[in-house]
Symmetry: C2
Subunit: 300 residues, 2 copies
């Protein structure tokens, strides 16, 4: 199967599982509008890249998909909650996402805040739920890593640094080191978790786990350079959102700081680093290699 | 030691542990203002009732305090994050709490949203962190229960119902059943978790665990009736916040729906139910019995 077909197939599977999760017994007694907002937040599209990385990193170890699903869904729930909160008027003040009104626009601000909060709790519930069949020690290890990746030293911390730059002009002259650290936290940490998750689920040895974590680190960096390049050069029709926002906002990005050609060279270099981290897995890592190229050279 | 001294001593211990947690290596590299906001949110007072209940329910089984601390701190972090979010302009729009500016007032809205999000992640990290010495199966069971108690069917769901009533006037004529369900979710679920946590940590048999969970359910209900009575009849100086807010807002409470005398009778009855749930523990449950009386008949 071609890479993009495989990605599409996984996206369909994840959509179905989230649909089931958010209309099943876990939410049957819960406030109706809150659940609708949670469904609005996480259903209806997206590439599902993070769950895909969880499932594909687990597949390296021949872990059955069912066993990797709780981590795949948990990371997507965390990603979904972060988008709902990031879109709020007090943060990025976005009214549209994936061609639909954002949660706070469709409902209201308090519903969006609470839907995000509930999605975060649900992610950790799902990871710990015994029904998943994960051994407790694996579940605990995943919980530790996911909570770190999403907390003050990860996703939330990165969003805080991003808003400090946007709204408070701090630091005054961000350099590429600051921007890449910020992005490694804001988007990189969850991508890195997703790649490492397979090794955790398979209880792989520390060296192997580190290799996947390194792959995830490079992949997250590639993701961000590619995002900045798309913002600078992409086709709005294909990307499906307004572009050149960064330049218009005078925002320091890897492209603005390094220059277009140097950013492209950095991206190629990063993809090579990502592939090098996968060498120990040989031909089995074919799909993850394709994932790195897809992430780096996508046009949307 | 008298009950109130014991409560004060535990509050001091919890304050110290949270202080250590929020100035230690877990946050050393994190964005400074975000960490300050998290500290503002959870340090500097509060009765620390939930951690106290965790430690005292664990003490029933002679579980050492150190072993019960992760759950005690985790529930307080969840409680703390919920207050930060509840105070936001889009929710209760409160500017003061415990005699100090609320987090969004002291910093700004986005910092408050992110500080709450990061506190939630930290709660689950702390519960799963192997350094706590909890066996993985216990850690997983605590994570499941805490995530359920704080999510869409618990705390967050209750806050959603409360705001639906306040802001949308839904349902049009709430009855006592609706109000008590809302409160059982909004404040009851975390209190119930706190009481059950000791049994989970001690890997007690299901009957024993249910007894503590039932105690927690009655205690949470008593807490809420007492809160409504304080709002109706309390001394503002002692309580430390504006009272008669519910009546002024035309809010349906257990007092407004049942009447003052019936609410007091319901409270006495609920305290007896709470005590009855503790009968299997005999004299060992003395402190928890006192806790029920304290919660029900406190003047602040």
């Amino acid at each position: 199967m071609q890479f993009e077909d495989r990605l599409t197939e996984t996206a369909r599977r994840i959509e179905g599982e989230l649909q089931r999760l958010l209309s099943g017994e876990k939410v049957a007694e819960a406030p109706v509008q809150l659940v609708q907002a949670m469904r609005h937040a996480v259903l209806g599209g997206g590439k599902r890249l993070r769950p895909f990385l969880v499932l594909e990193s687990a597949a390296l170890f021949d872990v059955p998909t069912d066993r990797a699903l709780p981590a795949a869904l948990a990371v997507e729930l965390i990603h979904g909650y972060s988008l709902v909160h990031d879109d709020l008027p007090a943060m990025d003040n976005d009214t549209m996402r994936r061609g639909r009104p954002t949660v706070w626009t469709e409902y209201n601000e308090w519903t969006a805040i609470l839907a995000g909060d509930a999605l975060q709790a649900l992610a950790f519930e799902f990871l710990a739920d015994c029904a998943s069949g994960l051994p407790p020690a694996v579940s605990v290890a995943l919980t530790v890593e996911l909570s770190r990746a999403s907390g003050v030293n990860g996703m939330v911390g990165g969003q805080a640094l991003d808003l400090e730059a946007d709204k408070l002009g701090r630091p005054e002259n961000p350099d590429a080191g600051h921007v890449s650290r910020l992005q490694a936290m804001k988007t990189g940490a969850l991508i890195r978790f997703s790649c490492e998750a397979g090794a955790i689920i398979a209880t792989a040895d520390p060296t192997t786990r580190t290799a996947l974590s390194e792959f995830g680190r490079h992949l997250g960096y590639a993701f961000q350079i590619a995002d900045d390049l798309l913002d600078a050069e992409g086709d709005e029709q294909r990307v499906g959102k307004a572009l050149a926002k960064d330049a218009a906002a005078g925002k320091a990005t890897l492209v603005s700081l390094l220059g277009l050609e140097a950013a492209k060279a950095e991206l190629r270099n990063t993809v090579e680093n990502a592939k090098a981290a996968l060498l120990p897995f040989g031909a089995k890592a074919k799909t993850l290699v394709s994932a790195a190229e897809f992430v780096a050279y996508r046009d949307n």
